[in-house]
Symmetry: C2
């Protein structure tokens, strides 16, 4: 028998699942405050859904196969194509703007690296039907507020914010031609992972002069809105182009989130379909990979689903986030505990244990009792092992008096309680937690 | 572009997802009251995990394929093999009894039939390490309490309860031999789906006399504990064999759940690995397929994971359950609504809209505002479309007075509120919901 999960896949034992549940719960809670509604699609989709968006080369990274009906299918590597399909199918009936989120588990057949997984959970938020900077700010604020809900502040997390229209205008002003733009974007995208010399070579090969190449690196090195606006002031149409970025920064400032934001033109986001605002969230020390990335993709829904709607979205994975929470001591304590353990002194007390335990559960309490006859001391040790807050001991004498013994397992006291009052008494105790 | 999900797979638009979330939330809440802890495993597992349990014939019903590393893998069709693997890997470190639940999405490549899906969500509960009838009753009570939590009573739902040891004893007493037992179990298992003549043929072929075959059908026709106990009284060792079934019925009675339970020896549960108590939950009119099925499988964990622990478990799917909830009008109303919509009279009011909306969200309220400049009337129509309970209108005059206008969108009133008090005022309003 296979003793292990497949490489790159996780087993979630209860303590692992408690952290996953904390992350998913927080994602849901914050998205809901922004009026976002949850949706989901199938984890298995037609392969062409992904090749239509990303080309045939994506297939090498997918869990894809031919099903028993001869269909080419793949485990979903991302959520956007499913979203595009679902929105396109009901585009007219959906009230705009569409504010939707999903918490899919996603799959990629990545080359095996240390700690690199082949599945992860992701918060996907998309705001569809609004083209303006307030929508961009809204979505970025949602991502930042997720971080704040986990207890992370501006000393822990930074939003690196750019706008592809701004970078494009600055590149054109440096002498980059329209034909050379893709190469220039690619160089900027790789700027933190490669030597300048290695990046400059393909630019020269594309026909750029040394001065233009300097201009590409100078644009990518710009930090902060004032520096970007000063550069734009010298570019044709620059002031107009810079307006949405300024509005995004101002809106985030008005929300009180200004300290999180750093304008940083090295953020390009590899994917070609981004059309405007792009952003990534990083831990402030940048020791980890990006926590979240997203941007505006105004042409993609039309290309994928035939519905021309502007859109902005982001994805935030659970793996880097969990690393950061662990690093900062922000993982909640394991709450594997019950409220009440009900113990029987004699076998004749068992029916009363069953009845009382069931009443307590109906009142919403987490309750256990011994499933075989055993000594009271052993039952109370099980109560301790389950981290119970209270025990109720039922015996023949107390039963004759219409009472049960309530033991406080966190303190040390015990007292008899009337059987008729015990459920109400403990329900109150649970509500105080 | 593919306009549809794969056949047998569901898209969950927000209204669909709301029902799914209601089901999953209720499953979690009730399991937690029973002290059960959530776990999960990978949705993709080594194929041999399933063939080891169910034989090579299971492959015909699976989504299985060879991955890019040459591994034979399958989308999980059930949770028990994953559970067995995980328990075996940490058997010594886990406190007994193990009370675990999971909410996996499961996959089967079933022949396409009307309304038959290829994926569904399932509540899996397993109680591991206790061999006795109190554990059986505990698990059955959990399943029944899930039904009660959805608003279903004993007039809606019945537990059909049997014990394979009891049926075996009655069959042996009717003259069935040990060799003929599998054929007899199979006939009883199919008794509601086939003609008596079709079922009797293989029994005769297995060498049973007409009298023995009558005995098989007579055993399967027994209903209620008294009838079963009367039959057992005439069988060798029958009284002893009947004790666990009686204890299960008595324990469920002590919990106040007696009205749900019907002893019914036709319940066999096809799978060969069940060793004792078996049960299924049905709608009382039996117009739908089974809602839940489970039983005791004391030898399976050893066979699958090499760890000899008694266990009882059940699975409950979301599809039949959702049908029943819809039929009984127990689906919660679509709660797609926000708490507050914040509107701006002029463009100069927008920064204040952003600041106030963000404060309200920090207080836990669900808040929206217009993402483009538009007339107040249009903004309030959007508030209505979002089913907002209140609107806050911010304008230059009110702003100068340090106030905002609060409109009750469910009633008709409006009143100015001090800006400094508006968050507290609305947070209170939200808490009342």
């Amino acid at each position: 028998m296979q003793a292990k999960a497949l490489p790159g896949f996780r087993d979630f034992y209860p303590a692992d699942l408690a952290l996953r549940a904390h992350i998913l719960h927080t994602w849901r809670a914050v998205a809901s405050r922004y009026g976002f509604e949850e949706y989901d699609g199938p984890p298995l989709e037609p392969l062409e859904l992904y090749t239509a968006k990303s080309g045939a080369e994506i297939v090498g990274q997918l869990y894809n196969f031919t099903d028993k009906g001869g269909r080419e299918v793949a485990l979903r590597p991302e959520m956007t194509p499913t979203l595009a399909r679902m929105v396109a199918a009901r585009a007219n009936g959906l009230k705009k703007p569409i504010r939707w989120f999903a918490l899919p588990q996603l799959f990629r057949y990545e080359r095996q690296q240390r700690g690199r997984l082949r599945e992860h959970f992701q918060l996907n938020c998309d705001l569809i039907g609004e083209p303006g900077p307030l929508a961009d700010a809204e979505l970025i604020a949602l991502a930042v507020d997720v971080m704040r809900a986990f207890g992370l502040g501006p000393g822990d997390i930074k939003v690196r914010l750019s706008d592809r229209r701004v970078l494009r205008t600055l590149l054109l002003a440096s002498g980059v031609t329209d034909q050379q733009l893709p190469a220039a974007f690619q160089a900027v995208d790789k700027i933190e992972r490669a030597e300048r010399r290695a990046l400059a070579e393909p630019l020269a090969a594309a026909g750029m002069t040394a001065g233009t190449i300097d201009g590409v690196f100078a644009a990518a090195a710009l930090r902060g809105l004032p520096a970007v606006e000063a550069a734009l002031a010298r570019a044709p149409g620059g002031e107009e182009t810079g307006r949405p970025l300024r509005r995004v920064v101002e809106a985030l400032g008005a929300m009180g989130l200004g300290e999180f934001v750093e304008v940083d033109l090295t953020i390009v986001r590899g994917l070609a379909y981004y059309t405007g605002t792009v952003f990534e969230l990083f831990d402030a020390g940048r020791t980890l990979r990006a926590i979240c990335g997203g941007g505006r993709y105004d042409g993609l829904l039309e290309a994928l689903g035939g519905v021309d709607l502007p859109a902005i979205g982001f994805g935030m994975g659970d793996v880097v986030l969990a690393e950061l929470l662990r690093e900062r001591g922000l993982v909640p304590a394991d709450v594997s505990s019950i409220d009440v353990f009900v113990a029987a002194i004699s076998e004749q007390d068992v029916p009363e244990v069953l009845a009382l335990a069931h009443e307590l559960r109906d009142a919403g309490l987490r309750v256990e009792y011994a499933l075989t006859t055993q000594a009271v001391g052993k039952q109370l040790r099980l109560a301790d092992a389950r981290n119970a807050r209270a025990a109720l001991v039922i015996g023949p004498d107390d039963r004759a008096r219409g009472q049960v013994m309530l033991k406080d397992l966190r303190g040390q006291g015990q007292e008899p309680v009337d059987r008729t009052q015990v459920v109400e008494r403990l329900a109150r105790m649970a509500a105080v937690v």
